[in-house]
Amino acid sequence: MSHTHPAPSTATLVGSAVPRREDPRLLTGRGRFVDDIDVPRMLHAQFVRASVASGRLTSLDLSAVREVPGVVAAFTADDLELNAITAGLHRPPEEYVPTGMPVLARDRVRFVGEPVAIVIAEDPYAAEDGIEAAKAVYDVLPPVLTEDAALAPDAPLVHEEAPGNTLLDVSLFATEGIDRIFADAPCTVRVESRTGRQNALPLETRGALAQWDAREEQLVVHTCTQIPHQVRTVMANCMGLDERAVRVVVPDMGGGFGIKCVVGREEIAVGAAALRLGRPVKWIEDRKDALTASFLAREQHYGLRAAFDADGHILALDADVVCDMGAYSCYPFTVGIEPLMASSEMPGVYRVPAYRVRGRAITTNKAPTAPYRGVSRPQYVMAVERVFERAARELGLDPVEIRRRNVITEFPYTGVNNITYDPGSYLESLDLCEKSLRDEGWYTRQAEAAEQGRHLGIGYSCFSERTGYGTAAFAQRKMKVVPGFDLAEVRMDTTGALTVTTGTISHGQSHETTMAQIAADELGLELHKVKLHQGDTERITYGWGTFASRSIAIGGSAVRRAAGKLGERLRALTAGLLDVPYEDTVLDKGRVRLRDDPERGLSHVELAEVAYLRADLLPAGTEPGLTATASFDTLSDGTFSNATHGVVVELHEGTGQVEILRYICVEDCGVAINPTVVEGQCRGGIAQGIAGALYEQVTYDAQGDPECTGFMEYKMPTAAEIPDITIHHLETPSLITETGAKGAGEGGTIGAPAAVLNAVNDALRPTGVELENTPVRPEQIQLALEQAAHEHKESAPA
């Protein structure tokens, strides 16, 4: 583990809001996304998808498909003979049941939208005509669509090998004597909290273009994925190819938010079809498929019980977590990702002395789930924050005060969950957030509103998020394929310009700018001399891609290390050429100079010329060329960003609408490499969190047919629903990353649902109603307000 401290004092770019280098391309329409790539002889694919939620595919007749003008081929599972995509955990059978996800379903289908055949045509219109002509006959089985149905004693089985429709059932923690603590506690509270199924919904749908490169003997796949190296690994495994025979390239990507950090079956099928046909094949997912047959997220149920002392200190937390993972396990994370995340991290920012938790992943006949920005933390933070709100009410304490009495204030702190938290600003962020709302007069306005019969509510959420999970953290989950490290390479050319290659991949997070800031500072280069290369499996040996807020914390640390190594080489070369001790050299503004004689030195250009073009001048023992590689891993429990969110809402009588009047986020992600980028990540995350709290939900009818097939049914918020958001930054540098940066990708999504729900409940306080499930829709609020008005009338003096 490195204990290198944050960026050196000579740093000029890290910490600056330098303009994004991605922007000119994207603003002028010169970005290149998967569907922007057209190649000669290219064919187009679409998928025939299951029309029943659960059933046996008794016949699949594609003869009429093949007659459709423009259709070139149509393949079933039997035609392509691909291995299933199988992720796994090293856990005993009573804890975990491994299940495979076939690339194309063969005889059994498990959700509406599951692909059963791929149709390839000369143009995308013909491919769509083709899938319409498929004749599939199903022996329909009763679907399992809810948690209760899945866990019912006589429930039909989604996977025959998984009794009770349970794919994971673990009890990670059980403090001895916890029942006695509950029995003796002066105050106990109970919370039942459910979160709706959501779609992460990147604006660019999934897609892939696969073509065989005969000269390189490689299947080249352009695809929009957050994990190109893992797509390569799985594609080779499914097709029985050497891994070197697959190259995965990620061009510009229009968002991912997690659902593109798992391997999709469609991209594998497209690759296999291209190999079979000897022609390039492109597949672009349409919005209906993205809403119904892509990976979904979030549907979870938290049953929490907590014990408190009379002063509001939490004594124990007892949790039962059930996650509805849908029909299949995702690669590489498996169905374990959500319940294991929740189980191991639920105490969060609070000093919880006793903890018991059971976490389950259940399977249902709905589209499978993938990690979505936040991963279980939006849900457990919401449930835990409800616990504190409920306890505050029971004990007559202020909701902020009860948090203040319980948040961790001494660091490092090792929790009851065996996780060691690195320094953060849990209390400071809470205090600043409350002070901001108080100073702006929101508490006064709330009191005035109450007198006028209006319903204003103020709500908070307080959380930390582990970012930059290293190998150790994922290994603890017992994953068979363990993410964690990342690699970086830097290469200086003969003109002194630098190319940085990473294993992470930006899908909106501005890596081209932030990674360049890190490398440029390390080498004393101007920003324009540095370029980032990402998303090509041929350019770097391996990478774990972009998820879990890991890119800057881990990938950025690898970049700084690689650049540091190159800096050492430049200094050694200078020392040799000028015949001075290595220690006397320093990197400074595009050159290496002598520490005590600033006039004397060699520019990067001069050094690069020697390294490549005048190797005859190289000092003895110096290798030609100027490249360096490095890896980085957070070997401890990782690093923890933290934040407090504060929200003011008004509930509108007559409509039940929730209007957000004020939103303040106080965040601490360590050193902010680029504050503008951090703010963008916060705001975007908060918007998705608000969406989950108030608007978005994927629903199914009683037969398991998806009810959200377009944006008319899936209510994604617009500029009219998302308020302006003020962000205050605190900075507690990470001691375990090379840059002092923690992670900033997910926090907004984590904090928003709890804060919004708490604000809604604060506004509903006079009604006595507390809502614990999201999304909170106007009809529930309307009902509560009508009830309150009714009671008010009854109790009013005649």
Partner: protein
């Protein structure tokens, strides 16, 4: 475009100031024609049912969803795409405003927002923040939380007004 089930038509339209003639299926959308027949891939498709607005272009100066128009409906019309906004690779004031205010992250919805704003500001140069927010709410963005898009359009509008007033003086 080799599908034999539909008839082909010769369509003449003006795209970014240049007259173009294309032979295409009558069912081909304007978006697909711009992107794949004319190579103007700046215009993006994200829902293909007219909600998200990523495919917004200007048709005779007004914002239109190119996924909801057949190319044949653009016969004789003036179409402007995102590629028309910048001059010789230099960002227009609107594009620069988006860059200055971090009004984009992944950039996929951005061309649609730019063309929406370009059309909106041409018709409503005096629009205030509230009206801008309302106009902008007809397109979807998943990255920014919208605030910085509203900021960008508002600042561009203010700068344009300032510029005009400056000219008058």
């Amino acid at each position: 475009m080799s599908s034999n089930t539909t008839d082909h038509q010769l369509v003449s339209l003006t795209v970014n100031g240049t007259e173009r003639e294309v032979v295409l299926d009558s069912r081909r959308t304007l978006a697909d024609t711009l992107r794949h027949d004319l190579g103007l891939t700046g215009t993006h498709l994200a829902c293909e049912h007219g909600i998200c607005g990523a495919c917004t272009v200007l048709v005779d100066g007004r914002p239109a969803r190119s996924c909801l128009m057949f190319a044949v409906q653009a016969e004789g019309k003036q179409v402007r795409t995102v590629e028309s906004l910048s001059d010789d690779g230099r960002l227009s004031d609107l594009q620069q405003a988006f860059a200055d205010h971090h009004g984009l992250q992944c950039g996929f919805c951005t061309p649609g927002f730019l063309m929406l704003a370009e059309g909106f500001l041409a018709e409503n140069p005096d629009a205030g923040r509230k009206e801008i927010r309302e106009a902008v709410s007809s397109n979807l963005c998943r990255c920014t939380g919208y605030q910085t898009i509203v900021d960008a359009v508002e600042h561009c509008a203010a700068a344009r007004r300032g510029h005009q007033e400056g000219n008058v003086q």
